[in-house]
Symmetry: C2
Subunit: 377 residues, 2 copies
């Protein structure tokens, strides 16, 4: 782990991707000195800021002030919040704003918001003039620990999520830990599922630390910054090994095969289930399924369940309000997501806490049986 | 030069870009055996073909037959011909076709057409699932010697040409030299301006060869294939040295600063001026301007003029039908294109035939004076 502490309470995670290397700064009140961080690290003269209504009302003025104080010309576009914003018309609007403002290759598009804004603005930054600088200022926990790191950008299509996009690494990530104070409890918890995921993938010590310290992570302060930094480091490690997702990066999908199926089965209705909640249930199921295949102990599955329950996340399919999806619907969603090849699918399984692995030959029939039993309970 | 001859009359230019390396095959009737070339070189099971009406009527069936014979499932989209097709709605339509057909990362989008179709389809291939395979089957001379090589893709915006796009190298280029037989004489000549350009940049022997053999190039047969292969090799050499255009790749803009200004001044009205014609005039002007700055001899400028005139290309601003643009309009266009920095602009100048170089400090006032004199003649 190479998380380093710079100025008071500020952590830096370096992502060593050659000529696309960048730093992630993590600390309180970073938005207020974004201008200084950006101008001292990148030669940006102009910035086109993309944000959503919820975030703009809290942080846009502060960001603009800081940039202008440091001599950066700014324009901004505030979009409606929500997943629907990850589509073609908003993308065209962002590109048009950037081009109207004559953003050049060395100028920047800045994403100020959650993963929706980050994915959209990053895609625009990847295609305007075939690539301009990109600065992420993630404001949700999920975007601070997951979507702002790794360079995946994109929008949704009527055929599915994230089907159009580019790999475009940011030039700088500023994770303002105090901005999370205005995030809803539910969104914070959903993001926390991804934090716990890093422990479960390959950092048993981190998972243990979370079991002890999660209340401090929720409360804010150094424990929160520490959890975010370790999460970023975990994701960065995987991304550096496998930037374009051909192998190991698949580990990041722990809990996501079941999770995506649940999201699809609830029609992406966020009043019933948000992504991180699906992942929480999915991680518990992945551990139980591994135990059922005699790969891991049932005690580990119970430990995962206990921790996620403690923080207030759902851990059972039956925790989802409304009618339960039948097994067939879930299996269809899994087959869609994973392209079943001659009855086999790729799944992230585990030998225990922090011992996940990519299994390429899981029998679809085994998954189906497991889901039937789970739903029958 | 490493142009190699494979089967009868087929030339291969290899573009060594590491894990993005690819081959350009050049020869007669390649469309008819495209299926074999594609399946033997890439593991493509499905292909989404993008083309335009002019090209589809001549070659689409032939391509589809060849692919299906070799077991490749195909879908296709035929768009209106012309520069307007390089815009957002057609891009969305191409992406949607590919996603509807469930094109996966190892499947391909195929561009069958000129530079418009290549730029559009290549952009789609760069963003569908964050990148799928891309096969270029360029059918205009310009696209065979220029736009199909190098990985620049894109569409236009209301703010200017090619402002949105990605770098996405093709996996294979099939340049069918017989397909050029159906190209209009005028489009062929326009593409030829770019062929001559490679000689003028840094291959004096090639320019001399063209002076002797241009009639055979226009007639078809081995001389045409040879000229295309050397052109591709020339462009590939520059691209390999400078994939993302930070330095040497600028040499490819020989004749283009004046050319673009003339295109802009004639409102991109192709009945008056097409791109290659603007480049032809621009190359003559670049050589005259270099002579005027005592960098090259006037004899060289005359030689360039004589050759381009011989093949039937325009060589004077006054060759453009309709009213002549005043100097100010041209200077404005040049300033727009090149971002004049404190009165200086970057220009491709020359010490003589095949001795072009990038000049970073050309005084805008010198260019203006030269243009005034040129227009006054
Ligand atoms: N690119 C990647 O690698 C990657 C990885 C994971 C997820 N994602 C994407 O991220 C998106 C989900 O991200 P998300 O959960 O951040 O969603 P989001 O951007 O929709 O944010 C969630 C909600 O919180 C609000 N919000 C954000 N920050 C706030 C703050 N500080 N105060 C008050 N409200 C705030 C937003 O307005 C929104 O209503 C999905 O589209 C997903 O596909 C991308
Ligand atoms: N990506 C790059 O590096 C690059 C480089 C140079 C130019 N370009 C782009 O290329 C485009 C110009 O390319 P172009 O000149 O091929 O234009 P184009 O694609 O419009 O083709 C010119 C015309 O010829 C027709 N045509 C093409 N092949 C034919 C054939 N075999 N038989 C009959 N008709 C045929 C087309 O339908 C069209 O009407 C511009 O948009 C330019 O920006 C891109
Ligand atoms: Zn996730
Ligand atoms: Zn050109």
């Amino acid at each position: 782990m190479t998380v380093t502490l710079s100025r008071e309470n500020e952590r830096v995670v370096h992502v060593p991707l050659g000529d696309r290397a960048y730093d992630i700064l993590i600390g309180p009140d970073l938005i207020s000195h974004a201008g200084g961080e950006i101008t001292s690290r990148l030669k940006v003269r102009k910035a086109a800021i993309v944000t959503d209504e919820n975030v703009a009302s809290q942080y846009l003025d502060r960001l603009v002030d800081s940039l202008q104080t440091d001599g950066v010309e700014t324009v901004s576009l505030t979009l409606p919040p929500g997943e629907k914003t990850k589509s073609l018309e908003p993308l065209a609007a962002v590109c048009d704003m950037a081009l109207s403002a004559r953003i050049e290759r060395n100028d920047a598009i800045i994403a100020l918001g959650g993963g929706v804004i980050g994915d959209l603005a990053g895609f625009a930054a990847g295609i305007v003039r075939r690539g301009v600088r990109f600065v992420q200022i993630p404001t949700s926990l999920l975007s601070q620990v997951d979507s702002s790191v790794g360079g995946k950008t994109g929008i949704n299509s009527r055929h599915g999520k994230n089907l159009l996009g580019v790999f475009h690494q940011p030039d700088l990530v500023l994770s303002d830990t105090s901005a999370l104070d205005s995030l809803s409890e539910r969104e914070f918890r959903a993001g926390y599922a991804e934090v716990a995921k890093y422990g479960l993938i390959d950092r048993p010590d981190f998972f243990e630390w979370l079991e002890k310290n999660w209340r401090d992570v929720f409360a804010g302060g150094p424990a929160r910054a520490e959890a975010i930094a370790i999460s970023c480091q975990s994701k960065a490690d995987v991304v550096v090994e496998d930037e374009r997702e051909t192998g190991r990066r698949a580990l990041l999908n722990l809990g996501h095969t079941f999770g995506h199926a649940l999201e699809a089965a609830t029609q992406y209705d966020s009043s019933r289930l948000v992504h991180g909640e699906g992942v929480a249930i999915g991680m518990v199921l992945a551990h139980r399924f591994s135990a059922r295949l005699n790969l891991a102990s049932t005690d580990d599955a119970k430990r995962v369940e206990a921790h996620l329950k403690a923080v207030g996340l759902p851990t059972e399919i039956s925790d989802i309000p409304g009618e339960l999806p039948p097994t067939e619907v879930l299996m269809d969603a899994i087959a869609q997501d994973k392209k079943v090849k001659s009855g086999k699918l790729t799944f992230i399984l585990t030998h225990g806490i922090g011992q996940s692995f990519v299994a390429n030959d899981v029998a679809a029939s085994e998954v189906e049986l497991f889901l039937k039993e789970t739903l029958a309970r």
